[in-house]
Symmetry: C2
Subunit: 235 residues, 2 copies
């Protein structure tokens, strides 16, 4: 048959076993099912996905490069634990990049994309209605990724994927207990601005949206954090 599979391996990930592992772990981190500092043993993961350690190791190295996993020499891989300084850097980078991304997304707007955005909003709303915190968190990040895909900028998309994954860990670590999750209303407003092709408004809304997320965080003083670590180790 013609099943010669000459397809370009450029297709991100689907049938690849390494990609399945990577996406599984990524999803678990994005849904806050894996907490920062969790040990990611190679045997353990390998058994779950029915893969040998070679493949698991490849996946973990990719995740380490994305900044959501730390690999310590001779110690193993752990879910990353971003510092408050990291958190500030991540959100500053997002504030810089995302308004630009929205701008490009509006250039590439189409009925199909608007439909996709609308369906996303509905899905998110439904998840929040039934109190599914995990789905809600995941979809919150997915919205931003969706806009980046829409923009057609593969480089921005790659950068943002990294930033979103790290943001998820940051929010898990530092969010004030009582504040609600990143509101759907913001996303809906951004979509409305995109629909109207109002670049200035869409960019401004994205910016204030990010500012609001960061304002909900309690980033303890990094100096105090490092000191406590040093004291605990040195004293």
């Amino acid at each position: 048959m013609a099943a010669k599979t000459r397809q370009k391996s450029d297709a991100p990930d689907a049938s690849d076993r390494v990609s399945r592992i990577r996406e599984g772990v990524t999803a678990a981190i994005l849904e806050h099912r894996l907490l920062p500092g969790t040990k990611l043993g190679e045997d353990e993961i390998g058994e779950i996905y029915g893969a040998s350690r070679t493949l698991v190791r490849t996946a973990l190295q990719q995740l380490a490069h994305e900044g959501i996993v730390n690999i310590e020499k001779n110690r193993g891989a752990f879910v990353a634990r971003p510092t408050p300084a990291d958190a500030r850097e991540v959100f500053e980078a997002r504030r810089l990049i995302e308004p630009t991304i929205v701008d490009h997304a509006i250039d590439a707007v189409s009925p199909a994309w608007l439909d996709r955005l609308g369906r996303h909003l509905a899905e998110k709303r439904e998840a929040e209605l039934r109190g599914d915190a995990r789905a809600s968190v995941r979809l919150s990040g997915e919205f931003h990724r969706l806009v980046a895909e829409m923009s057609g900028h593969s480089i921005y998309l790659g950068f943002l994927k990294e930033l979103i994954a790290r943001s998820s860990l940051i929010i898990l670590l530092y969010r004030r207990h009582d504040t609600p999750a990143c509101g759907t209303d913001h996303h809906a407003g951004i979509v409305a601005a995109i629909r109207k092709r109002d670049k200035a408004r869409a960019g401004a809304l994205m910016l204030s949206h990010l500012n609001e997320i960061e304002a909900e965080l309690f980033l303890k003083d990094p100096a105090a954090d490092e000191l406590r670590l040093a004291d605990g180790l040195g004293a």
Copy 2:
């Protein structure tokens, strides 16, 4: 200056054998000694660096994640060949990020850094004087990395390292034959603005510098490029 840098494994492990391979190949690409499309055989590299294929493979995967190497399934690793579309994206991202980086660098300016920048300019000038094109190209990129390090933003630094490496390939592929290399004068002007802590001027100079580099490129129509590829494969 020994205070910070206690951060994660992303720090340059010069002693690691994998890192040595990665940096060796990266340097070769940055100095235009490895051309786009060059096959990077695992055995070949392994023999050069006296390492087993396992380590070579790890290094190549990291380079693939940085976008300067393409890994095709069951085919091997090749030096990446950025398309004109890629080139435009890379330079747009640089125009967005680098003025911000300069801004932060000025916040972190110190006599030690100014000295380092000055020494860099001298080294570059000397390389150009003796007509060492390879060193000149390498140092051109290094200047931008230096400013990013100075800014203290590890995320921006990581992004920019990727962008610089890709830029090197892009310049090699698409630069008009007769134009001179990216001028030292620009860099010197930026350093002067940094020295005066003139953020507005430094950012503007960086922007025009990037614009000038891109203007020296001849990016053939991506549509024509893709069509030719599709025709060649389909017909």
